[in-house]
């Protein structure tokens, strides 16, 4: 707004121009920019006036060189779910909107031997202020240690409160899964199937815990035949659906550890002419676009991923963000997931 429109080849004003106009030294201008104390109100005003007049914007490259730190946040991810990454990214962008920060996106190849070396090189080169680690790589302790080692701040995003509140943002998935399963039980379901997430994923473990919790409360148990493996992909949902729905006594409801797999189970149900939700209730997890695009619309757990992006950014670099007071609600950093009822759930016949 205040910035004047400059012609095509209009030079950017530098700190020297500002100093000259304000009649002070570079150093003083620098002090104003960096909000140093030890400054007369008068000089500060004069400098700010000059900055305003010239439309001066400090050159981030020069600052980065001198600070030995770039004004960037790196988003490291290796997530199978594109939507999740993008939503989180959007949240981070929301948070840094009016700051001097920019967002650098960096996918990481979890499988690779060289993963740690790659990330190290990346961080050494880009020197971001901080890094955000998305699950599942947020569960990699070596990565966190690397950040620590390189003096890069970091925040790990997880589905359960991890040990260190300062470095973590998460949601209460376990509780909400339990809530969803309780809803099934309340409707009268007793034979409830489960489609697991991939092994080694904290998110998967949390969801399973919540599921078993609700079952245990109701005195129900999970027969092996009702417990299908999965990897968060559609095809796994198909397999699980085939397995569970071919049983002599199939479940009347199935909880799937994510929406994609739920969509797979639902396809199998359609193909087998099993009425959903009449003959089979299905619940997913993520509230991905898929959840509403399939028919009937999927009951699911909404994971506040975008809000977690905002929160993660605020936790990572509170000192660079405007209006950050609100994050000082203790180290909580656990956001609330919610169970969303749609048409894929009904009482058993």
């Amino acid at each position: 707004m205040a910035a004047q429109k400059k012609g095509a080849s209009g030079k950017q004003p530098t700190i020297n121009d500002v100093a000259a106009l304000a009649g002070v030294s570079k150093k003083t201008v620098s002090r104003v920019i960096n909000r140093s104390e030890f400054l007369t109100e008068k000089t500060r005003k004069a400098v700010e006036q000059a900055i305003e007049t010239l439309g001066f914007v400090p050159n981030p490259q020069a600052r980065a060189l001198a600070f030995r730190r770039n004004f960037l946040i790196a988003l490291l991810h290796d997530n199978p779910n594109a939507q999740t990454v993008l939503n989180f990214q959007q949240g981070v962008l929301d948070a840094i909107k009016d700051s001097d920060l920019a967002l650098l996106v960096r996918p990481v190849d979890r499988g690779s031997e060289r993963m740690l070396d790659d990330v190290r090189t990346f961080l050494e080169k880009q020197r971001p202020i901080g890094a955000l680690l998305l699950p599942p790589i947020s569960e990699n302790d070596a990565l966190a240690a690397l950040c620590e080692d390189l003096g890069v701040r970091y925040v790990r995003v997880g589905s359960a409160p991890l040990d260190d509140a300062k470095h973590c943002v998460s949601s209460n998935d376990r509780e909400v899964v339990a809530e969803a399963v309780r809803a099934l039980i309340a409707l009268g379901h007793r034979r409830i199937g489960f489609v697991r997430g991939p092994q080694g994923f904290r998110s998967a473990a949390e969801r399973e815990k919540g599921f078993r919790e609700a079952l245990a409360e109701a005195g129900l148990d999970l027969p092996d035949a009702y417990n299908a493996p999965g990897n968060y992909r559609y095809a796994a949902g198909i397999d699980a659906g085939e397995a569970l729905l071919s049983l002599g006594e199939p479940p009347t409801a199935i909880f799937c550890s994510n929406d994609e797999m739920a969509a797979g189970v639902m396809s199998v149900a359609h193909a087998k002419r099993i009425e959903v939700p009449g003959a089979l209730s299905i619940i997913g997890f993520d509230d991905s676009p898929t959840a509403t695009h399939i028919w009937p619309a999927l009951s699911t757990v909404r994971w506040p991923i975008r809000e977690m992006g905002v929160r993660a950014a605020k936790t990572l670099v509170p000192d660079f963000l405007p209006f950050t007071a609100e994050v000082d609600d203790g180290g909580a950093a656990v956001l609330r997931s919610t169970f969303i009822q749609r048409q894929s759930v009904a009482a058993p016949q």
Copy 2:
């Protein structure tokens, strides 16, 4: 691999260290880094040796300052479809994987008055080498002019070959839509409905052209009642489905301008107990995850968005990327979309 493991506080080697070790001047090292011609094989080897030994990595911040340009590619987008953005982004990342470049992501608020000012400030601050413009903002000429003005390279991504091959990457959507519709006609469909994309979107216009082309070839026409408005969202698909399938003589096939809307139409069909594909064939566009997650799986047009990301990056910064020769296939830069047959299409009853 070659990089030595450095301790926590291990200083990075600088160009001076390399120069000292190789027994040459800074400038010569700089020349090697920047692949200057004018260099003896001998000196080059010596310097490369020294670089190798020290595990030297040029400091991007310093280069950025001296070059007055950051080694970044900015991805400017304002796309309603997250999946598209992420796939494209993935392609760009593929392309710059082994380069010195990094990717900066920047959403743009198309609606905002200040959009151009915001982008200008962003580009002036970050000084990326180039910018990639995703549709729909790729169609904004003022934005391209701004890049030109600021000396930022740019590539516009579109669904039709735009005028200037050097600045454009696109796909042959029109042809492939026509192909898909021809397939419907070949199956015997005569009453074919159309769900439009949003007005003012080039992609939408292209798809409609392709659709009408195929119809015209077969001597069919598109009654107004069969031509439903849409905005690429699921809800619009619901509305269109309600409208088209309530007609006295409903279409036996519907082409939807994207998958989300196709999913909406399919939901309506399910709700109305209209058999898909028996009583109604549906085709979408995008080959989004939704296309395979819904049941029956959707026939659709696969838009090579990730490949376009690769291509766009290569077109934008060929000189910064390894192995870029392959892009010299003329200014073509038109990638091929493909029609994908799935279960949502069959002959009319």
